[in-house]
Every structure is written in C-alpha cells, then in structure tokens.
C-alpha cells in the first residue's frame, strides 16, 4: 500500500460516510483526516493544510457553502470538492461565487470520488490554476465569458442554445477528463436518465458546428467511443 498521493480532509456530518470513505481513500494511498462539522473542518484546514478538501454541503451549523466562503475569504486556494445534490443553476452559482473546484452528487460510488480527487489534484500539481471559479476561459481560438454567458470564436461572438453553452462551459472547466454522457447529463441537465443520452449528442453536434470542429480530426472535442467525450484543447484563464 503506497501512501502519500497527498493528504485529504473529509467533511460530512454522517459518521458512516466518513468511516467508509476514509478507509477506501487510505487504501488508495492518501493520508485522510476527517471532520463531522464545519467549525472543526475550518480548524483542521488551518492546522493540517490538506492538499484537498471533500466537503458536504448540507450540514447542521456551519454548512459546506459557508465553510467554503470563509476559506476563500482567507485567500486559501486549497482545492475543494463539494458533495451535494444540486441542480444545474445552483452548481453554476456556487462555482462562480464561492470557488469550489468540482461537485459530486449523492449518492455516489467511492470510485467516482477517487476519480474526481485525482483529476483535481493533477491540475493543481501541474501548477495549473483552478478553472472552476474563473470568469473567462480561453482555449485556442475561443473565449468563454461565464458571467455574460457569451462565446467568442476568433473574437466574434457566436450564438449557442443555453444548454450547449452549459455543456461547453462544463467541458472547459474539466479539460482532459473523460466525461461520460451520464455525467454530462447529470451535471449539465441535472438528470440521471442514463438512456436519454441522445440529448447530449445533439448538443455536441451543435457545439462542433459552431466551433467548426471536425470530429475526425478534433481540435476541441474528442469522442471516446463507447464512453463519452473529452475536451482536448488546453484551457487557461483570460488575463
């Protein structure tokens, strides 16, 4: 059992979840600390300086959003993954205003959490800034303004349907990651109908048309056959 893939702090008011998750994550090579409420979480972050915090939103007392807010107020850039059941609009609001790096809806499987943790840490370790709370994202010839909900290709604004915009936004905040249709449906549409993935495909077709991205030699969006899609261009924050 190799250790030190990093240190994590898990925060959730359900003891059983903490028990199972910390066991699982320790076996996966992390050093894990836990906290069952917001106040304790803030103390431990200060004392232990974890590489990443997994934070449940719905907790009595100081809830996850408040913890995150205070963290960011202290100018802490510790990456945070929120555990929550949120719809799409709330997720966007949280990302922009409070600076969470990723979300995972309950109920989830520990493997999914592990995949998210690894993805976030990979970006952090590469010295890449957190994209989740950036207002404007750039990649090759495109610029996405998340506040104005506008897309610019070669400096000219192009129109997208609202869902296509949400989809592009999500993909650009998670570059390089394999995004299954199910995950996209859940995160962008707020749905969990694994069989209505046609909806995702239709929006990808729209995005490819607008970005003039040829699926056979893609610059931006790559199809991973049988699995989903990946945003393959590098994404940065507009200065």
């Amino acid at each position: 059992m190799s250790t030190n893939k990093g240190s994590l702090l898990l925060v959730d008011d359900e003891e059983d979840i903490l028990t199972v998750l910390s066991s699982f994550l320790e076996r996966s090579g992390f050093k894990v600390s836990t906290a069952a409420n917001g106040e304790l979480a803030l103390k431990k972050i200060e004392q232990e300086n974890p590489d990443l915090v997994v934070l449940d939103i719905l907790m009595p007392g100081l809830d996850g959003r408040e913890v995150l807010r205070r963290l960011r107020q202290r100018s802490s850039i510790t990456p945070v993954i929120m555990l929550t059941r949120v719809g799409n609009a709330t997720e966007r609001a949280l990302a922009l205003e409070e600076g969470a790096d990723d979300y995972l809806n309950k109920p989830f499987d520990a493997h999914e959490l592990l995949a998210r943790i690894n993805a976030v840490l990979r970006r952090v370790k590469a010295g890449e800034p957190s994209l989740a709370s950036a207002w404007e994202l750039v990649s090759e010839n495109i610029c996405l303004d998340r506040r104005e909900r506008a897309l610019f290709v070669n400096n000219k604004q192009v129109l997208l349907t609202p869902k296509a915009f949400d989809l592009l936004e999500f993909m650009m905040v998670h570059p390089g990651e394999l995004l299954t249709r199910e995950r996209l449906l859940e995160s962008v549409w707020g749905w969990e109908y694994p069989l209505v993935t046609r909806t995702v495909d239709a929006r990808i077709v729209e995005l490819r048309r607008v970005l003039q991205d040829d699926p056979s030699i893609p610059v931006y969006i790559e199809t991973v056959p049988g699995n989903g899609y990946r945003f393959i261009a590098a994404v940065g924050i507009k200065k």
Partner: protein, 305 residues
C-alpha cells in the same frame, strides 16, 4: 339561506310603507285597476319564477366555489406529495452513499476471494438500482418546482431522433418502428415546449411500446395536426394492458400484472404524463389484451399556449 335573506328587504320595505300609508290615511289612489283571477295567477307565477331564478343563481355560484376549492385542494395535495418525495429522497441519499462506497471498499478488500465477487456485483447492482430510483423520484418531484422556457419544437424532427435513439439500444436493435406523418394539407407545425422534456416523454412512451411487444409486433408512430393541436399516436400490437390496470398506469411506481418480471420501476409513464401536463396537453390510452391485443397512446399538444 341566511345569505339570501337580504332579498326580502325590498318586500319588507314595501310592506312597511303599505301598512304605514294605510294607517295614516295617505294611501292615495295611484292606479285603479282590475285584476281578474288569470292575472293574479300570472303575477304569482312570475314572482315564483323570479324566486326560482335567484335560487338557481345561488346554487350555481356555490358549485363554482366548490369546484375552485376542490382544484385548490388537489394542487395543495400534489405539492405536499412532491415535498414528501423530496424529503424522502434527501433521507435516502446518505445511507445509499455509505452502501455504494462500502461495497466498493469490500470489493477491494476481498480481491483474494473471487467467490465473493459475484455476490458483490449483485449487491452493487441492486444498490445502484435504488440510487437511480431515488434520483428518478426526485426528478418527478422537482418538475413541479422548475421553471421552463418554451420554444417552438419541431416534433417531426424530434420524433425521428427519438426513434433512432431508442432503436440503438442493445435490446431493440432488430426492431422496427414505422413513422407516419401528415403531409397534406401541410406538414405539422411546431409546438411550444421544452425540447429535452418532450424528448423524455416520448422516449418513455416508445420504450414502453418496445418493452411490451415482441419481434413480430408492429409499432407505429403517427403525427398529425388537427384543430389547434398536434396529435401523436404511439401504437403497438403487443400484449396490451389489462383493463383493471388502465386507470392506474400513469401513477408513479405503478406496475400492472404484465409488468412483472420486466426491468423498470414504473416511473416512465408517470414522467411522460407530468411532462405532457406541463405542456398543457393531454394523454390517453386505449388497450386490448388477449386476441388482437394492442395498445395506443394518444398525446395532444396545443399549438399555442
């Protein structure tokens, strides 16, 4: 009747004046007339009619008020039902998270015990089923609270896409669905709607048709425009729905006799109905079992809201 006692006020006033004027001797002759018995009966009849009209008006208003109350109560009950579902879902997600994650952990711990593998897969699949079920129920409950932006939706294109999608499913790749669309006097117009929700509604209906019919059965999807609405019929020659189940098939989690043994939690039709209700449309079903069995779902969607 207390409410209508004010109707007697004019009569009362008139009576009082009559008595007063006679008593004070000021009952000057205004009009001298002779009424025969026929006229008297006519006047009595007219007065009776007037009273009956007033009575009827009162009852009509009452019925309207009762109708509105019933509608209000029904809406409140439905809202409370959805709130309950959300609370239930909220309570279920933490234990489900523990179970799903715990099973992953067990899987890892028992790597050297391959005989445990099958059991773990079974447990994980069933826990996932619960998870999907709670999510679907949550979706249903959230429909009530979402706000929607309706845009013109071309059902011709949408239905073609859905048919293509549903036939890509591994279980249905050998099946056929016929799509008939009205071409005269004109192609059907678009309807105001939410494209994703309508996709879901029709997808569930089509999947239902495929599930309850077999290789040799026919499935037809018919789109036509009639009288300010679009009509979509999804018909199959499958096993049909028993008569006693028909009134309940749109209820959440209801699974009739023929559904036993088939995958699914009985939410598909409930979701379809909710979506169509949201679009101010209607959905009906006709079905026969036994000889010449089959089912047809008829959906009407208004051309304007």
């Amino acid at each position: 009747m207390k409410k209508y006692s004010y109707l007697l006020i004019p009569l009362g006033i008139g009576l009082l004046f009559d008595i007063f004027l006679h008593w004070t001797g000021h009952a000057n002759l205004v009009l001298s007339a002779r009424f025969d018995i026929g006229h008297v009966i006519l006047v009595l009849g007219a007065l009776s009619s007037l009273f009956l009209f007033v009575y009827w008006l009162g009852r009509f208003n009452n019925q309207k008020k009762t109708g509105l109350e019933i509608e209000k109560n029904r809406n409140l009950a439905q809202q409370e039902h959805h709130r309950f579902l959300k609370r239930l879902n909220h309570e279920l997600k933490n234990p489900l998270t523990t179970m799903l994650s715990g099973l992953s952990l067990l899987d890892d711990m028992l790597k050297d015990k391959p005989e445990a593998g099958d059991l773990l897969v079974l447990l994980t699949n069933n826990t996932r089923r619960l998870s999907v079920l709670t999510d679907n129920i949550n979706q249903l409950a959230e429909f009530n609270e979402r706000s929607f932006e309706f845009v013109p939706v071309d059902l011709n294109r949408l239905l073609k896409e859905i048919i293509a999608a549903v036939l890509e499913l591994p279980d249905y790749q050998e099946r056929r669905i016929e799509f008939q669309i009205q071409k005269a006097p004109w192609l059907p117009h678009s309807v105001p709607g939410d494209e994703d929700l309508l996709t879901l509604a029709f997808y569930n209906l089509l999947e239902n048709a495929l599930k309850y019919s077999g290789q040799g059965d026919i499935i037809e999807v018919r789109l036509r425009e009639s009288n300010k609405s679009l009509q979509v019929e999804i018909a199959d020659t499958g096993c049909g729905i028993p008569e006693e189940d028909l009134p309940y098939i749109f209820k959440e989690l209801y699974r009739g006799k023929t559904a036993q043994g088939k995958q699914g939690e009985g939410l598909g039709l409930a979701i379809s109905k909710q979506v169509i209700d949201l679009h101010q449309g209607t959905i009906e079903v006709q079905s026969h079992t036994g000889e010449n069995s089959g089912t047809v779902f008829t959906v009407h969607l208004p051309l304007s809201l």
